[in-house]
Assembly symmetry: D3
């Protein structure tokens, strides 16, 4: 009975029936005096505004982030699609739907990715750095494997942080070899692994794991600082030598490269310089990947806010 | 026998005999093949280059920052004064000189200033903030009362940090009253007291207490971060509520006002906004005071590097 | 009969009857062919869009800024409130309403404030500056006590300029004492009093006194220049010494601090430097006050355009 | 007997005898204990450092800007030429020398240039603007025809302001025709004539007319403001209509084009926009002329500080 | 029967019948389920949104840029005019309408303008530059006389490039005389003629000649580069001396003046400096002309995006 | 007999005899009237000023860049070393010295490096790009293997361009695999190989191959443009498809990343974005390598001009 049409594939005029996530729920009264519900529905292919006219329940405003079963028709409003919902209810335990169709997830095998991270970390020769990284990985095991890397912009899906960090570890591993004259592989790998751990405290996530906002400490202190403070505390606990603790803190504080991009201090050693470039590279390449996926070969995308420009997908 | 002429008052051609600080000692061989000593001598009124020609001792290159007794003549080189030293030796315990004539010291009564700081802090109504500040003051008692506030630029003399902090506390105290609608007096005073405590780790000082350079952690981490980390640790120790700890850390991290001036995050509450302006105001007013002291009424100073411009002393 | 519900407290669906200010009146024909009136109504708590459908009078487009009596219902349009007016007419002399409920006014006692300004000015020791200020105050008495300090951004209410200037005079008075080594109290107070007098020519105001736009000279010349020119002329008239006239003109021309913020020249003496910081501080503190008044404790405001950022109201 | 070799043509080792300007006179004692005089000599082709060793008079330090007769030899010091003076005395009334060989003067016929300025101004159709300009020209007749246009950078020679203004008037005259659809010729010509009149008060000049420094009002108020204030006063005197006075003041206040280049307000009408471009164009073309005169065809100049770059003289 | 009311003159409520250009055609279904057509119509006086409700043909989405005959009524939507179309069909060969009323065209006589360009070019004394320019003019004859100079911003009408280039040639011709000391007239004229020839490849034009978008090479390479490459190739073909070819390429590459305005290199000779200023001047003057045409004397325009500010039309 | 002490290891007072490069030769007369020769001598470890007092030959000013045999003593002048030469003559064919000790050369095996470049290029799958690259490699074989990558800043030694390009090819090869979703390996490799080929025309080199200056076309057109033009011409010759030629030109024009760093256009496809980051990374890592080589572990370098900051070499 359900057709569960993917949001990215909906056409104006289509009848739709299926399970979707609901957010931004607002119940209001129209100028004609009748109540209606306004919300945003999503699956892992996209997002759409939705309305229930002459609304009488049963969803309330505090059900954001939950799964609903709905029936409706795709209409057009203000040059974009809008779902005109005719029936809606919360999904229950008896309902059969695939949560993975609703939540965007990194296109990686999570277990393989985690194993590879542990393997790279395990190959570090310096005991201090290796034990430090392993301790941190174990302590943050759960968040590290599921957190998105951002609220939007890039890697804004489950396990986005894992995917971003693994990609960067691979690049760091290779580049530490290419620039072995100036780069301490272990310091670079340690800084790469830990550079975004502070995001665990910076993000507010929905029940299903997506970033909905920044936390108050996230805004007032920032993930660079919070990550560095945890490094300082853990280094004390593990009695890591001062110089190594200081270098790791420096790599975290400087990984945005320039003060105007949010760096608390400028990179001042070869490893922090390289880490900031690897981070820039991986985030830009992911933005290209996400942007060009929606662009026809031989044409330009719309203006992307993360890059500040439109980009070309060649033939 | 000693004339101890003040460096600021020396004239070309004058014979000089007295006690001075010596720094930047270098022993070299001239192109004519004879050894000479090159150094910089200072008292609390100024600094001058000095040479000992045909040098045969007894000062060595690692006696920087010590007091010497010298005899010489003021000459001119490259349009500035230069001391041509004829005799020189290290001062000993038997020598009678006034150390305060050699080291620049803040023009305040140190005990009165400290008392006033304790009094203002003691007047805070919030127990958490007051106890926190008192504990920090006691722990850093010695450094806080003697440290300069900067290497150069402004308040670069003994007790400069105390003078700068006290001035700012007075301003904060008044302005908290003027803007009581939005300002929590206790938070503002606590942030003001602590804003530069991280400088204790940021500076390298000579034996006599002046800043000679920045420490390695000072450059790689910065005093904003190091100060905030200590606040975080101490807040844990004293079990200060999370919100208060976070706000204090935020005030320290943001007190430079803008990322391009070194702020790790931008001020985002009324107290951090005001603290950054009070800091800017007090440092600028001190630069004016130091600059205009050397400027004739009705004329302009030379270009000041801290302000980036020449300034006018009116009649 | 009238309920005069405050705009800030209106709820969707509520029936409203009362006196409000009307502005932006436009009479149009809908795509369905029927005439309607579109306008904005306000009281001293807020502003709301309003419509009269099937409009047949009696308000015309040139009645902006006047008081009307209306009856209608609060509806919702595009996620904000909109007043659907059923009846409307101009208020007459017989109507009883409180003009102060309609126009936002500074939260100060105007007479007390004026007295305090005169008192501070009266305490100046330099006859030239004091007489100059008193003459200017007398000449601009009326505008000075009623003008807003801005069109929006901060202090955009009746007597806003008086409130802003008095706050700044209090701060200047205190800080002149704190920095008495470099600050001439009389010059600073004179510059503070006069710094925004040019706004009288810069603003276009409605009949009831609020700023509706900038005047043509306001845009082509600016209030810094116009204020300084009047100082130059008055100084000639009063035969104030050249140096004092020049310094006062300099304080006015430079009080925005930096060319990119509108300063005609950069501050180049201690008093102009301090004045520009006091002005910055008072305008920022007022923006915080106005913004945080609408923000819940423990949460962030929306992005404020004057500050260029969202701000946090702590618990 | 005199050879009066031009400074630009002097060779190392040459014996020189002749009349030159002297400046920056300082009498000092060498480290060897003997007195010497240090100064800078110039003619209209260049400038050179000079020394008189074992100096015993008769020139004193307050004879800057005067003409001397000297005899000496061209030596080398620190990779540039230096005059080793053997004899020196002040020129007297009996001496025969050509002042024009010593002072750089604009390469124009001053009378012809003035006549052309008067002719262009005389051709203005609007009585208000024409009379205004003629009155200003008559009042400033003497300074306008002899003042340099700058201290250095460009047109830093006698009558430089006249040459700069005339060139700009010619360009304005032509461009007012080309853009007659948006440009009022009379307003543009009036603004062009008057745009730098404020420099008369901004400069301090030597007895012979060259700019030696900026005046105190020049620094604290600037020539844009001082020029505009005089326009405002004169317009009152001549009862010029408000709009015309305001426009002229606006052209003066905005002629540097952008706040970061010193404009007090941005150009906001077609004439002020065009005036700022003509001023930029004429000053840049003169810098090219002065720079390329010292550059070989087919090669680059040294870096020019006015332009911020080296420039190419093509073959 | 047709009234062909000019778009700039339409009033709400007016009945309209006539020929217009149609663009941005989209056929959609309303939320009420009925199809409608949305498009933009234009003539040489302006542009307006248009709707056909209950649409059943005969225009399809790929008829953009064609001429239609329509009948409808001017309504208001969202504070601007909107055409409610009742009848619409494509214009045919039998229809009588004036294409020049629909397409905006430069207000010049195209033949006179071309002749003047050829005449100025013909007056060049250097055979290399003259023959080069004449060859390029002949090769690009057709595009040069009809291309707009921009997509919007300025000269965005047929023959806009011709008008812009001719104006600049006139200015260059005059200014080459004024600055003959540093300017090679022939080089400046050649660079002026050719500076925007690369736009032929940078623009995508509609059938009727207006710029609808930038081409892919236009975005990836830019008209400065493409113009310079063609100069390099043609110079090889015509065996123009290396230095002259290089200079011409340099003038094209640098004519936007500064890297942040799109210059590939900075101007480094007098002619490229002057060319960049003439281009700036002519484009700004045209923006003023287009903006002030819609502004009442004595008032300000709306904010213009090309200039980044509102501008004043004086009385 | 020769000691050939390395310049980096010379001590004040040492007697030196050996072969060195000579540059900046100037023959002058001292203020005492005697001739002397001033020059700079170098080997592959450093550079030093040198003087020959009472000079009578046999080196003349146009022997720059040649090898000399000299005998002298290391003295000190102005706080740096200076060679006081007692004997000097040009090296002849009979002399035995090792040219490689005098000229700095990349620390790579040139043949191995070239082979690896050819191998990577040979592995490209796209025939157009591969053949294009091979043709360009063959045409520029000689310059490509010996040219420095810069005048100073980084890789300023023989074969520096080869070393820089090979490093970048290795990184590009790896990263094309890591980001294979968005990166065309062949396009990225082709752009990487060719990105600096334009430097062959941008540099002026000494007889022995080091960069002494920029050429005139190098300054007026830049290596980005000159490289892209050659690509355009060669693509025509080889009949490479338009899209591929355009993309390659785009990669060359944009490889400096941002206009303010010299990019003629911004990167607008994934490959140009990545190329600009790889170039930035390799040049920064080389600057770190060259800078840290002269820095003690646990301390900071002096301020590096390429990086704009001092950097830390950790323990």
């Amino acid at each position: 009975m359900e057709n569960n049409i993917r949001i990215a594939e909906m056409q104006i005029g289509q009848a739709v029936q299926g399970f979707y996530l609901v957010n931004d729920i607002r119940i209001r009264v129209s100028s004609a005096g009748s109540p209606y519900l306004s919300a945003r529905i999503s699956d892992n292919t996209g997002v759409m505004d939705a309305k229930v006219w002459n609304y009488s329940g049963p969803i309330s405003e505090n059900e954001n982030g939950k799964v609903v079963l709905l029936q409706g028709e795709v209409t057009e409003f203000n040059r974009t699609h809008q779902m005109k919902i005719e029936r809606i209810r919360l999904a229950t335990e008896e309902d059969h739907y695939n949560l993975e169709d609703l939540i965007p997830v990194a296109p990686i095998d999570r277990q393989d990715a985690l194993s590879e991270v542990f393997e790279i970390i395990g190959s570090m020769e310096d005991d201090d750095y290796r034990v430090f990284c392993q301790t941190m990985l174990n302590r943050h095991h759960s968040a590290f494997q599921s957190l998105p890397a951002a609220k939007s912009v890039h890697h804004a899906f489950l396990s986005g942080l894992l995917m971003h960090t693994l990609n960067m570890l691979r690049a760091a591993n290779f580049l530490a070899g290419l620039y072995s004259e100036v780069i301490s592989r272990d310091l670079l790998l340690a800084g790469t692994l830990l550079h975004d751990f502070g995001k665990e405290k910076e993000f507010l996530c929905s029940e299903l794991g997506l970033v909905t906002d920044y936390s108050v400490p996230g805004k007032l202190l920032g993930h660079l600082y919070m990550g560095a403070v945890e490094v300082a505390e853990m280094a004390n606990e593990l009695k890591m030598p001062e110089e190594k603790s200081m270098l790791l803190q420096h790599l975290l504080l400087s990984h945005h490269g320039q003060p105007e991009y949010g760096a608390a201090v400028e990179p001042q050693c070869a490893e922090s310089e390289l880490l900031s470039l690897i981070d820039l590279m991986d985030s830009r390449m992911e933005i290209y990947a996400e942007t060009l996926a929606d662009t026809q070969p031989g044409s330009f995308s719309g203006k992307n806010f993360g890059l500040g420009k439109a980009v070309y997908r060649h033939k």
